[in-house]
Protein backbone atom coordinates (compact mmCIF):
# COMPACT_ATOMS: atom_id res chain seq x y z
CA UNK A 1 0.00 0.00 0.00
CA UNK A 2 2.67 2.41 1.06
CA UNK A 3 4.89 1.47 -1.83
CA UNK A 4 2.02 1.87 -4.28
CA UNK A 5 1.22 5.28 -2.92
CA UNK A 6 4.86 6.23 -3.08
CA UNK A 7 5.10 5.01 -6.63
CA UNK A 8 2.08 7.05 -7.66
CA UNK A 9 3.43 10.18 -6.05
CA UNK A 10 6.90 9.66 -7.44
CA UNK A 11 5.70 9.26 -10.99
CA UNK A 12 2.92 11.82 -11.00
CA UNK A 13 4.07 14.56 -8.67
CA UNK A 14 7.64 13.60 -8.00
CA UNK A 15 7.20 13.94 -4.26
CA UNK A 16 6.19 11.86 -1.31
CA UNK A 17 2.96 12.28 0.59
CA UNK A 18 4.95 13.46 3.61
CA UNK A 19 6.11 16.41 1.52
CA UNK A 20 2.59 17.85 1.62
CA UNK A 21 2.42 18.02 5.41
CA UNK A 22 4.28 21.37 5.63
CA UNK A 23 2.04 22.77 2.90
CA UNK A 24 -1.07 21.82 4.85
CA UNK A 25 0.51 23.32 7.96
CA UNK A 26 1.34 26.61 6.24
CA UNK A 27 -2.19 26.80 4.80
CA UNK A 28 -3.70 26.25 8.24
CA UNK A 29 -1.45 28.91 9.72
CA UNK A 30 -2.42 31.31 6.95
CA UNK A 31 -6.16 30.74 7.55
CA UNK A 32 -5.66 31.15 11.30
CA UNK A 33 -3.74 34.41 11.01
CA UNK A 34 -6.19 36.13 8.62
CA UNK A 35 -9.26 34.90 10.57
CA UNK A 36 -7.89 36.33 13.78
CA UNK A 37 -8.15 39.69 12.09
CA UNK A 38 -4.85 41.06 13.32
CA UNK A 39 -3.45 41.24 9.80
CA UNK A 40 -4.91 43.62 7.25
CA UNK A 41 -6.12 41.68 4.19
CA UNK A 42 -4.51 44.32 1.98
CA UNK A 43 -1.16 43.18 3.35
CA UNK A 44 -2.01 39.49 3.47
CA UNK A 45 -5.11 38.47 1.51
CA UNK A 46 -7.17 35.53 2.73
CA UNK A 47 -6.80 32.14 1.04
CA UNK A 48 -10.31 32.66 -0.30
CA UNK A 49 -9.36 35.88 -2.06
CA UNK A 50 -6.34 34.21 -3.60
CA UNK A 51 -8.37 31.20 -4.73
CA UNK A 52 -11.02 33.47 -6.23
CA UNK A 53 -8.41 35.47 -8.12
CA UNK A 54 -6.79 32.24 -9.22
CA UNK A 55 -10.03 30.80 -10.59
CA UNK A 56 -10.96 34.09 -12.28
CA UNK A 57 -7.56 34.25 -13.96
CA UNK A 58 -7.76 30.65 -15.04
CA UNK A 59 -11.28 31.03 -16.41
CA UNK A 60 -10.56 34.23 -18.33
CA UNK A 61 -7.33 32.68 -19.59
CA UNK A 62 -5.09 35.54 -18.50
CA UNK A 63 -2.98 33.43 -16.13
CA UNK A 64 -2.16 30.85 -18.76
CA UNK A 65 -1.53 33.57 -21.34
CA UNK A 66 0.99 35.34 -19.09
CA UNK A 67 2.56 32.05 -18.08
CA UNK A 68 2.80 31.04 -21.73
CA UNK A 69 4.66 34.22 -22.64
CA UNK A 70 7.08 33.72 -19.76
CA UNK A 71 7.62 30.02 -20.47
CA UNK A 72 8.54 30.77 -24.08
CA UNK A 73 11.05 33.40 -22.94
CA UNK A 74 12.54 31.12 -20.33
CA UNK A 75 12.86 28.23 -22.75
CA UNK A 76 14.61 30.45 -25.29
CA UNK A 77 17.07 31.74 -22.71
CA UNK A 78 17.45 28.29 -21.21
CA UNK A 79 18.26 26.56 -24.49
CA UNK A 80 20.80 29.23 -25.30
CA UNK A 81 22.39 28.82 -21.87
CA UNK A 82 22.44 25.04 -22.25
CA UNK A 83 23.86 25.22 -25.77
CA UNK A 84 26.65 27.68 -25.04
CA UNK A 85 27.21 26.50 -21.47
CA UNK A 86 27.63 22.87 -22.46
CA UNK A 87 29.61 23.73 -25.58
CA UNK A 88 32.08 25.95 -23.78
CA UNK A 89 32.07 23.59 -20.79
CA UNK A 90 33.24 20.72 -22.97
CA UNK A 91 36.06 22.85 -24.40
CA UNK A 92 37.13 24.03 -20.94
CA UNK A 93 36.90 20.50 -19.53
CA UNK A 94 38.96 18.97 -22.32
CA UNK A 95 41.63 21.61 -22.77
CA UNK A 96 44.00 22.67 -20.02
CA UNK A 97 44.79 25.85 -21.97
CA UNK A 98 41.14 26.80 -22.31
CA UNK A 99 40.79 26.22 -18.60
CA UNK A 100 43.70 28.50 -17.74
CA UNK A 101 42.41 31.11 -20.17
CA UNK A 102 38.85 31.25 -18.85
CA UNK A 103 39.16 30.36 -15.19
CA UNK A 104 39.44 33.83 -13.65
CA UNK A 105 36.91 35.42 -16.01
CA UNK A 106 34.35 32.76 -15.14
CA UNK A 107 35.02 32.98 -11.41
CA UNK A 108 34.51 36.74 -11.45
CA UNK A 109 31.46 36.88 -13.73
CA UNK A 110 29.64 33.97 -12.13
CA UNK A 111 28.70 35.61 -8.79
CA UNK A 112 27.15 38.65 -10.50
CA UNK A 113 23.36 38.19 -10.26
CA UNK A 114 21.50 38.70 -13.57
CA UNK A 115 19.51 41.53 -11.97
CA UNK A 116 22.72 43.58 -11.67
CA UNK A 117 23.10 43.35 -15.44
CA UNK A 118 19.76 45.05 -16.11
CA UNK A 119 21.03 48.64 -16.60
CA UNK A 120 23.71 47.58 -19.05
CA UNK A 121 21.47 45.11 -20.83
CA UNK A 122 18.80 47.77 -21.42
CA UNK A 123 21.44 50.12 -22.75
CA UNK A 124 22.89 47.50 -25.07
CA UNK A 125 19.85 45.60 -26.21
CA UNK A 126 16.95 47.94 -25.58
CA UNK A 127 13.72 46.87 -23.98
CA UNK A 128 12.67 44.22 -26.51
CA UNK A 129 12.61 40.46 -26.17
CA UNK A 130 16.34 40.01 -26.64
CA UNK A 131 17.25 41.80 -23.41
CA UNK A 132 14.89 39.57 -21.40
CA UNK A 133 16.18 36.42 -23.04
CA UNK A 134 19.75 37.52 -22.43
CA UNK A 135 19.07 37.97 -18.70
CA UNK A 136 17.50 34.51 -18.52
CA UNK A 137 20.44 33.12 -20.47
CA UNK A 138 22.81 34.61 -17.89
CA UNK A 139 20.82 32.91 -15.15
CA UNK A 140 21.63 29.45 -16.50
CA UNK A 141 24.83 29.82 -18.48
CA UNK A 142 27.44 29.56 -15.72
CA UNK A 143 25.69 26.71 -13.95
CA UNK A 144 25.76 24.67 -17.15
CA UNK A 145 29.32 25.66 -17.95
CA UNK A 146 30.71 24.71 -14.57
CA UNK A 147 28.83 21.45 -14.20
CA UNK A 148 29.99 20.28 -17.62
CA UNK A 149 33.62 21.28 -17.24
CA UNK A 150 33.90 19.84 -13.75
CA UNK A 151 32.08 16.68 -14.78
CA UNK A 152 34.68 16.19 -17.49
CA UNK A 153 37.60 17.16 -15.27
CA UNK A 154 36.62 14.63 -12.64
CA UNK A 155 36.19 11.72 -15.05
CA UNK A 156 37.40 8.59 -13.26
CA UNK A 157 41.05 8.21 -14.22
CA UNK A 158 40.70 4.43 -13.92
CA UNK A 159 38.19 4.40 -16.72
CA UNK A 160 40.38 6.62 -18.87
CA UNK A 161 43.21 4.17 -18.30
CA UNK A 162 41.09 1.43 -19.87
CA UNK A 163 40.83 3.51 -23.03
CA UNK A 164 44.57 4.14 -22.94
CA UNK A 165 45.36 0.44 -22.71
CA UNK A 166 43.01 -0.27 -25.61
CA UNK A 167 44.65 2.48 -27.70
CA UNK A 168 41.23 3.99 -28.30
CA UNK A 169 41.31 6.87 -30.80
CA UNK A 170 41.01 10.28 -29.15
CA UNK A 171 37.71 11.28 -30.73
CA UNK A 172 36.14 8.00 -29.62
CA UNK A 173 37.44 8.56 -26.08
CA UNK A 174 35.79 11.98 -26.00
CA UNK A 175 32.43 10.94 -27.41
CA UNK A 176 32.08 7.49 -25.91
CA UNK A 177 33.94 7.77 -22.61
CA UNK A 178 34.50 11.31 -21.36
CA UNK A 179 31.15 12.86 -22.27
CA UNK A 180 29.02 9.90 -21.13
CA UNK A 181 30.99 9.85 -17.87
CA UNK A 182 30.18 13.53 -17.41
CA UNK A 183 26.48 13.09 -18.25
CA UNK A 184 25.24 12.82 -14.64
CA UNK A 185 26.99 16.09 -13.87
CA UNK A 186 25.72 17.66 -17.11
CA UNK A 187 22.17 16.71 -16.13
CA UNK A 188 22.60 18.21 -12.69
CA UNK A 189 23.63 21.42 -14.45
CA UNK A 190 20.63 21.26 -16.77
CA UNK A 191 18.23 20.84 -13.87
CA UNK A 192 19.72 23.49 -11.63
CA UNK A 193 20.04 25.96 -14.49
CA UNK A 194 16.42 25.48 -15.57
CA UNK A 195 15.46 26.44 -12.03
CA UNK A 196 17.63 29.53 -12.08
CA UNK A 197 16.48 30.56 -15.57
CA UNK A 198 12.88 30.26 -14.45
CA UNK A 199 13.48 32.23 -11.29
CA UNK A 200 15.12 34.95 -13.40
CA UNK A 201 11.89 35.53 -15.29
CA UNK A 202 10.57 38.13 -12.86
CA UNK A 203 13.84 40.05 -12.98
CA UNK A 204 13.86 39.83 -16.77
CA UNK A 205 10.28 41.03 -17.06
CA UNK A 206 11.03 44.03 -14.87
CA UNK A 207 12.67 45.37 -18.02
CA UNK A 208 9.80 47.44 -19.40
CA UNK A 209 7.62 44.48 -20.03
CA UNK A 210 3.92 44.47 -20.79
CA UNK A 211 3.43 40.75 -20.66
CA UNK A 212 4.49 37.68 -18.78
CA UNK A 213 4.05 36.39 -15.25
CA UNK A 214 6.72 38.76 -13.93
CA UNK A 215 4.87 41.67 -15.46
CA UNK A 216 1.64 40.42 -13.89
CA UNK A 217 3.29 40.46 -10.47
CA UNK A 218 4.91 43.88 -10.75
CA UNK A 219 1.79 45.38 -12.27
CA UNK A 220 -0.39 43.98 -9.46
CA UNK A 221 2.05 45.44 -6.95
CA UNK A 222 1.46 48.89 -8.42
CA UNK A 223 -2.27 48.49 -7.81
CA UNK A 224 -1.85 46.90 -4.40
CA UNK A 225 -3.40 43.61 -5.51
CA UNK A 226 -1.55 41.25 -3.26
CA UNK A 227 -3.86 38.35 -4.14
CA UNK A 228 -2.71 38.58 -7.75
CA UNK A 229 0.90 38.82 -6.58
CA UNK A 230 0.47 35.60 -4.61
CA UNK A 231 -1.24 33.86 -7.53
CA UNK A 232 1.71 34.84 -9.72
CA UNK A 233 4.23 33.64 -7.16
CA UNK A 234 2.47 30.32 -6.72
CA UNK A 235 2.20 29.88 -10.48
CA UNK A 236 5.96 30.40 -10.81
CA UNK A 237 6.61 27.88 -8.07
CA UNK A 238 4.31 25.22 -9.49
CA UNK A 239 5.58 25.59 -13.05
CA UNK A 240 9.17 25.45 -11.80
CA UNK A 241 8.43 22.25 -9.93
CA UNK A 242 6.73 20.69 -12.97
CA UNK A 243 9.70 21.59 -15.16
CA UNK A 244 12.03 19.87 -12.71
CA UNK A 245 9.82 16.77 -12.61
CA UNK A 246 9.92 16.69 -16.40
CA UNK A 247 13.71 16.97 -16.52
CA UNK A 248 14.08 14.33 -13.81
CA UNK A 249 11.93 12.03 -15.90
CA UNK A 250 14.14 12.58 -18.95
CA UNK A 251 17.20 12.02 -16.78
CA UNK A 252 15.84 8.72 -15.52
CA UNK A 253 15.45 7.57 -19.13
CA UNK A 254 18.82 8.80 -20.40
CA UNK A 255 20.82 7.85 -17.32
CA UNK A 256 19.12 4.55 -16.53
CA UNK A 257 22.59 2.98 -16.24
CA UNK A 258 23.47 5.38 -13.44
CA UNK A 259 20.50 4.77 -11.15
CA UNK A 260 21.01 2.03 -8.63
Amino acid sequence: MLSRRKQWNDTVIGSTFEGFIPIIFLFTLWIYVVNKGTVNTVVLPTPNMVLNTLSTKIVNGSLLAELGVSIVRVLEGYFLSAFFGIGLGILVGLSKNMQKLTDIVIQVLRPIPPIAWIPLVILWMGIGESSKIFLIFLGGFFTNLINVSEGILYTDSKILEVARVLETPKWKVITQVIIPAALPSIFTGLRVSLGSCWSCVVAAELVASTSGIGYMISNARNYGQMDTVIVGMLAIGVVGKLMDVFLKWIESKVLAWNIS
Binding site: K158, I159, R164, L166, P169, A256, W257, N258
Partner: protein, 262 residues
Protein backbone atom coordinates in the same frame (compact mmCIF):
# COMPACT_ATOMS: atom_id res chain seq x y z
CA UNK B 1 65.79 -21.89 -18.32
CA UNK B 2 67.62 -20.23 -21.15
CA UNK B 3 65.29 -19.25 -23.93
CA UNK B 4 66.19 -18.75 -27.53
CA UNK B 5 65.56 -15.18 -28.69
CA UNK B 6 62.95 -16.39 -31.14
CA UNK B 7 60.95 -18.07 -28.39
CA UNK B 8 60.76 -14.99 -26.17
CA UNK B 9 57.66 -12.87 -26.36
CA UNK B 10 58.44 -10.73 -23.31
CA UNK B 11 62.02 -9.94 -22.48
CA UNK B 12 62.87 -7.88 -19.43
CA UNK B 13 66.51 -7.13 -18.66
CA UNK B 14 67.94 -5.15 -15.76
CA UNK B 15 64.70 -3.36 -15.05
CA UNK B 16 65.01 -0.78 -12.28
CA UNK B 17 62.20 1.45 -11.17
CA UNK B 18 62.32 4.23 -8.60
CA UNK B 19 59.68 6.53 -7.23
CA UNK B 20 60.64 9.95 -5.97
CA UNK B 21 58.94 10.61 -2.67
CA UNK B 22 57.66 13.97 -1.51
CA UNK B 23 60.67 14.59 0.67
CA UNK B 24 62.69 14.01 -2.54
CA UNK B 25 64.02 10.73 -1.22
CA UNK B 26 64.05 7.91 -3.71
CA UNK B 27 62.29 4.63 -3.18
CA UNK B 28 63.46 1.69 -5.24
CA UNK B 29 60.38 -0.25 -6.24
CA UNK B 30 61.87 -2.72 -8.67
CA UNK B 31 65.47 -3.77 -8.49
CA UNK B 32 67.23 -5.50 -11.37
CA UNK B 33 64.37 -7.55 -12.72
CA UNK B 34 65.35 -10.04 -15.40
CA UNK B 35 62.59 -12.16 -16.86
CA UNK B 36 61.92 -13.78 -20.19
CA UNK B 37 58.53 -15.17 -21.03
CA UNK B 38 57.97 -17.80 -23.67
CA UNK B 39 55.16 -17.60 -26.17
CA UNK B 40 52.04 -19.26 -24.79
CA UNK B 41 53.45 -19.45 -21.29
CA UNK B 42 51.46 -18.70 -18.14
CA UNK B 43 53.50 -16.73 -15.62
CA UNK B 44 52.34 -15.77 -12.16
CA UNK B 45 54.10 -13.10 -10.16
CA UNK B 46 53.54 -13.41 -6.42
CA UNK B 47 54.52 -11.03 -3.68
CA UNK B 48 53.12 -9.18 -0.71
CA UNK B 49 51.38 -5.84 -0.84
CA UNK B 50 53.57 -3.04 -2.03
CA UNK B 51 56.31 -5.25 -3.40
CA UNK B 52 56.00 -3.65 -6.81
CA UNK B 53 54.31 -6.53 -8.60
CA UNK B 54 51.57 -4.31 -9.99
CA UNK B 55 54.17 -1.75 -11.00
CA UNK B 56 55.99 -4.48 -12.90
CA UNK B 57 52.79 -5.39 -14.72
CA UNK B 58 51.95 -1.77 -15.51
CA UNK B 59 55.46 -1.36 -16.88
CA UNK B 60 54.98 -4.32 -19.23
CA UNK B 61 51.61 -2.86 -20.20
CA UNK B 62 53.34 0.38 -21.17
CA UNK B 63 51.42 2.51 -18.69
CA UNK B 64 54.55 3.41 -16.79
CA UNK B 65 57.49 4.37 -18.95
CA UNK B 66 59.84 5.90 -16.43
CA UNK B 67 62.24 3.08 -15.75
CA UNK B 68 65.79 1.99 -16.36
CA UNK B 69 66.64 -1.15 -18.24
CA UNK B 70 64.93 -2.84 -21.14
CA UNK B 71 61.43 -4.15 -21.57
CA UNK B 72 60.78 -5.65 -24.98
CA UNK B 73 57.69 -7.38 -26.25
CA UNK B 74 57.87 -9.38 -29.48
CA UNK B 75 61.40 -8.05 -29.99
CA UNK B 76 60.41 -4.37 -29.77
CA UNK B 77 61.09 -2.02 -26.87
CA UNK B 78 57.80 -0.86 -25.44
CA UNK B 79 56.94 2.84 -25.78
CA UNK B 80 53.39 2.94 -24.49
CA UNK B 81 50.25 0.87 -24.18
CA UNK B 82 49.48 -1.37 -27.12
CA UNK B 83 46.59 -3.42 -28.40
CA UNK B 84 48.99 -6.35 -28.54
CA UNK B 85 49.00 -6.42 -24.74
CA UNK B 86 45.61 -6.77 -23.13
CA UNK B 87 45.31 -5.71 -19.51
CA UNK B 88 42.76 -7.01 -17.04
CA UNK B 89 42.44 -4.76 -14.01
CA UNK B 90 41.53 -5.94 -10.57
CA UNK B 91 38.33 -3.90 -10.59
CA UNK B 92 36.30 -4.65 -13.69
CA UNK B 93 36.35 -0.99 -14.82
CA UNK B 94 33.49 -1.53 -17.23
CA UNK B 95 31.88 1.54 -18.76
CA UNK B 96 28.63 1.75 -16.79
CA UNK B 97 26.71 3.43 -19.63
CA UNK B 98 27.39 0.58 -22.04
CA UNK B 99 25.92 -2.90 -22.09
CA UNK B 100 28.28 -5.84 -21.69
CA UNK B 101 28.33 -6.29 -25.45
CA UNK B 102 29.02 -2.60 -26.09
CA UNK B 103 31.82 -2.74 -23.55
CA UNK B 104 33.41 -5.62 -25.40
CA UNK B 105 32.89 -4.05 -28.82
CA UNK B 106 34.50 -0.85 -27.55
CA UNK B 107 37.87 -2.60 -27.70
CA UNK B 108 37.56 -3.05 -31.46
CA UNK B 109 38.47 -0.21 -33.81
CA UNK B 110 38.51 -0.11 -37.57
CA UNK B 111 36.33 -3.18 -37.85
CA UNK B 112 32.93 -3.29 -39.63
CA UNK B 113 29.92 -3.34 -37.35
CA UNK B 114 28.84 -6.85 -38.24
CA UNK B 115 32.33 -8.15 -37.59
CA UNK B 116 32.42 -6.39 -34.21
CA UNK B 117 29.16 -8.02 -33.28
CA UNK B 118 30.32 -11.45 -34.35
CA UNK B 119 33.59 -11.23 -32.42
CA UNK B 120 31.91 -9.89 -29.30
CA UNK B 121 29.41 -12.72 -29.45
CA UNK B 122 32.18 -15.26 -29.85
CA UNK B 123 34.24 -13.98 -26.93
CA UNK B 124 31.18 -13.66 -24.68
CA UNK B 125 30.45 -17.31 -25.35
CA UNK B 126 34.00 -18.13 -24.39
CA UNK B 127 33.61 -16.44 -21.00
CA UNK B 128 30.07 -17.83 -20.55
CA UNK B 129 28.41 -14.45 -20.54
CA UNK B 130 26.22 -14.66 -23.65
CA UNK B 131 23.02 -14.41 -21.66
CA UNK B 132 24.12 -11.08 -20.21
CA UNK B 133 25.25 -9.41 -23.43
CA UNK B 134 22.47 -6.85 -23.16
CA UNK B 135 22.88 -6.22 -19.42
CA UNK B 136 24.38 -3.13 -17.91
CA UNK B 137 27.36 -3.44 -15.52
CA UNK B 138 25.25 -2.49 -12.49
CA UNK B 139 23.20 -5.63 -13.07
CA UNK B 140 26.22 -7.95 -12.93
CA UNK B 141 27.73 -9.79 -9.99
CA UNK B 142 31.43 -9.36 -9.27
CA UNK B 143 32.30 -12.57 -11.08
CA UNK B 144 30.25 -11.67 -14.15
CA UNK B 145 31.75 -8.20 -14.28
CA UNK B 146 35.21 -9.72 -14.21
CA UNK B 147 34.24 -12.10 -17.03
CA UNK B 148 33.14 -9.11 -19.09
CA UNK B 149 36.41 -7.38 -18.24
CA UNK B 150 38.39 -10.38 -19.46
CA UNK B 151 36.26 -10.58 -22.61
CA UNK B 152 36.95 -6.93 -23.38
CA UNK B 153 40.68 -7.47 -22.96
CA UNK B 154 40.64 -10.59 -25.15
CA UNK B 155 38.29 -9.62 -27.96
CA UNK B 156 41.03 -8.08 -30.10
CA UNK B 157 43.12 -11.25 -29.76
CA UNK B 158 46.16 -9.77 -28.05
CA UNK B 159 49.08 -12.21 -28.10
CA UNK B 160 49.84 -11.18 -24.50
CA UNK B 161 47.31 -10.83 -21.68
CA UNK B 162 48.37 -9.12 -18.47
CA UNK B 163 46.21 -9.67 -15.40
CA UNK B 164 46.47 -7.57 -12.25
CA UNK B 165 45.01 -9.60 -9.38
CA UNK B 166 41.91 -10.22 -11.47
CA UNK B 167 40.24 -12.53 -8.97
CA UNK B 168 41.42 -10.76 -5.84
CA UNK B 169 38.01 -9.38 -4.94
CA UNK B 170 35.96 -12.49 -5.73
CA UNK B 171 34.61 -15.13 -3.39
CA UNK B 172 36.43 -18.47 -3.28
CA UNK B 173 33.90 -20.38 -5.40
CA UNK B 174 33.73 -17.83 -8.19
CA UNK B 175 37.48 -17.56 -8.08
CA UNK B 176 38.07 -21.28 -8.61
CA UNK B 177 35.54 -21.33 -11.44
CA UNK B 178 37.14 -18.38 -13.19
CA UNK B 179 40.61 -19.86 -12.78
CA UNK B 180 39.49 -22.94 -14.70
CA UNK B 181 37.86 -20.81 -17.36
CA UNK B 182 40.99 -18.76 -17.75
CA UNK B 183 43.05 -21.92 -18.27
CA UNK B 184 40.54 -23.11 -20.85
CA UNK B 185 40.80 -19.79 -22.69
CA UNK B 186 44.57 -19.95 -22.62
CA UNK B 187 44.54 -23.43 -24.04
CA UNK B 188 42.12 -22.47 -26.79
CA UNK B 189 43.66 -19.13 -27.77
CA UNK B 190 47.31 -19.81 -26.97
CA UNK B 191 47.56 -16.38 -25.29
CA UNK B 192 50.67 -15.67 -23.28
CA UNK B 193 49.51 -14.70 -19.82
CA UNK B 194 51.26 -12.83 -17.05
CA UNK B 195 49.25 -12.60 -13.85
CA UNK B 196 50.02 -10.76 -10.67
CA UNK B 197 48.53 -12.30 -7.56
CA UNK B 198 48.99 -12.48 -3.81
CA UNK B 199 47.33 -15.86 -3.71
CA UNK B 200 50.02 -18.55 -3.68
CA UNK B 201 47.62 -21.39 -4.35
CA UNK B 202 46.22 -19.54 -7.34
CA UNK B 203 49.72 -19.07 -8.69
CA UNK B 204 50.63 -22.77 -8.33
CA UNK B 205 47.32 -23.81 -9.84
CA UNK B 206 47.60 -21.61 -12.91
CA UNK B 207 51.22 -20.95 -13.74
CA UNK B 208 53.87 -22.71 -15.74
CA UNK B 209 56.36 -20.68 -13.75
CA UNK B 210 55.90 -18.66 -10.58
CA UNK B 211 58.03 -15.57 -10.08
CA UNK B 212 58.58 -14.85 -6.39
CA UNK B 213 59.08 -11.15 -5.73
CA UNK B 214 60.55 -9.91 -2.47
CA UNK B 215 59.41 -6.83 -0.62
CA UNK B 216 61.05 -3.41 -0.91
CA UNK B 217 62.85 -3.28 -3.12
CA UNK B 218 60.99 -5.73 -5.30
CA UNK B 219 63.42 -8.13 -6.78
CA UNK B 220 63.13 -11.65 -8.06
CA UNK B 221 63.92 -14.12 -5.30
CA UNK B 222 63.26 -17.19 -7.32
CA UNK B 223 61.47 -18.46 -10.37
CA UNK B 224 59.83 -21.76 -9.69
CA UNK B 225 58.84 -24.22 -12.40
CA UNK B 226 55.48 -25.75 -11.73
CA UNK B 227 56.02 -29.03 -13.49
CA UNK B 228 52.60 -30.47 -12.72
CA UNK B 229 50.41 -31.66 -15.56
CA UNK B 230 46.94 -30.23 -15.93
CA UNK B 231 44.31 -30.58 -14.66
CA UNK B 232 46.01 -29.93 -11.35
CA UNK B 233 44.62 -30.99 -8.03
CA UNK B 234 45.00 -28.62 -5.16
CA UNK B 235 45.49 -31.33 -2.55
CA UNK B 236 48.11 -33.43 -4.31
CA UNK B 237 51.23 -33.83 -2.28
CA UNK B 238 53.46 -32.34 -4.96
CA UNK B 239 51.12 -29.39 -5.41
CA UNK B 240 51.17 -28.72 -1.69
CA UNK B 241 54.93 -29.04 -1.70
CA UNK B 242 55.26 -26.36 -4.39
CA UNK B 243 52.91 -24.15 -2.43
CA UNK B 244 54.96 -24.60 0.73
CA UNK B 245 58.14 -23.80 -1.09
CA UNK B 246 56.80 -20.45 -2.21
CA UNK B 247 55.16 -19.84 1.13
CA UNK B 248 58.48 -20.28 2.90
CA UNK B 249 60.02 -17.50 0.86
CA UNK B 250 57.79 -15.02 2.59
CA UNK B 251 58.11 -16.44 6.04
CA UNK B 252 61.87 -16.24 6.18
CA UNK B 253 61.49 -12.57 5.49
CA UNK B 254 58.95 -11.79 8.15
CA UNK B 255 57.37 -13.72 10.94
CA UNK B 256 53.83 -12.57 10.27
CA UNK B 257 52.75 -11.72 6.78
CA UNK B 258 49.16 -10.67 6.77
CA UNK B 259 48.79 -9.46 3.28
CA UNK B 260 48.30 -12.68 1.41
CA UNK B 261 45.83 -15.44 1.69
CA UNK B 262 46.42 -19.13 1.32
Amino acid sequence: MALQDSEKIIDITHLHKKFTLENSNELTVLNDINLSVKKGEFICIVGGSGCGKSTLLRTIAGLDLEFEGNVAVSGKDINGPSKTRGLVFQEARLFPWMTVQQNVEFALDGVPKAEKKRRAKEILELVHLSDFAKSYPKELSGGMAQRANIARALVDNPPVLLLDEPFGALDAFTKIQLQDELLAIQEQEGTTMVMVTHDIEEAVYLADRVVVLSNRPGQIKDIIDIDISRPRHRNDQYFVLKKKKIFNYFFEEKEIEEDYVI
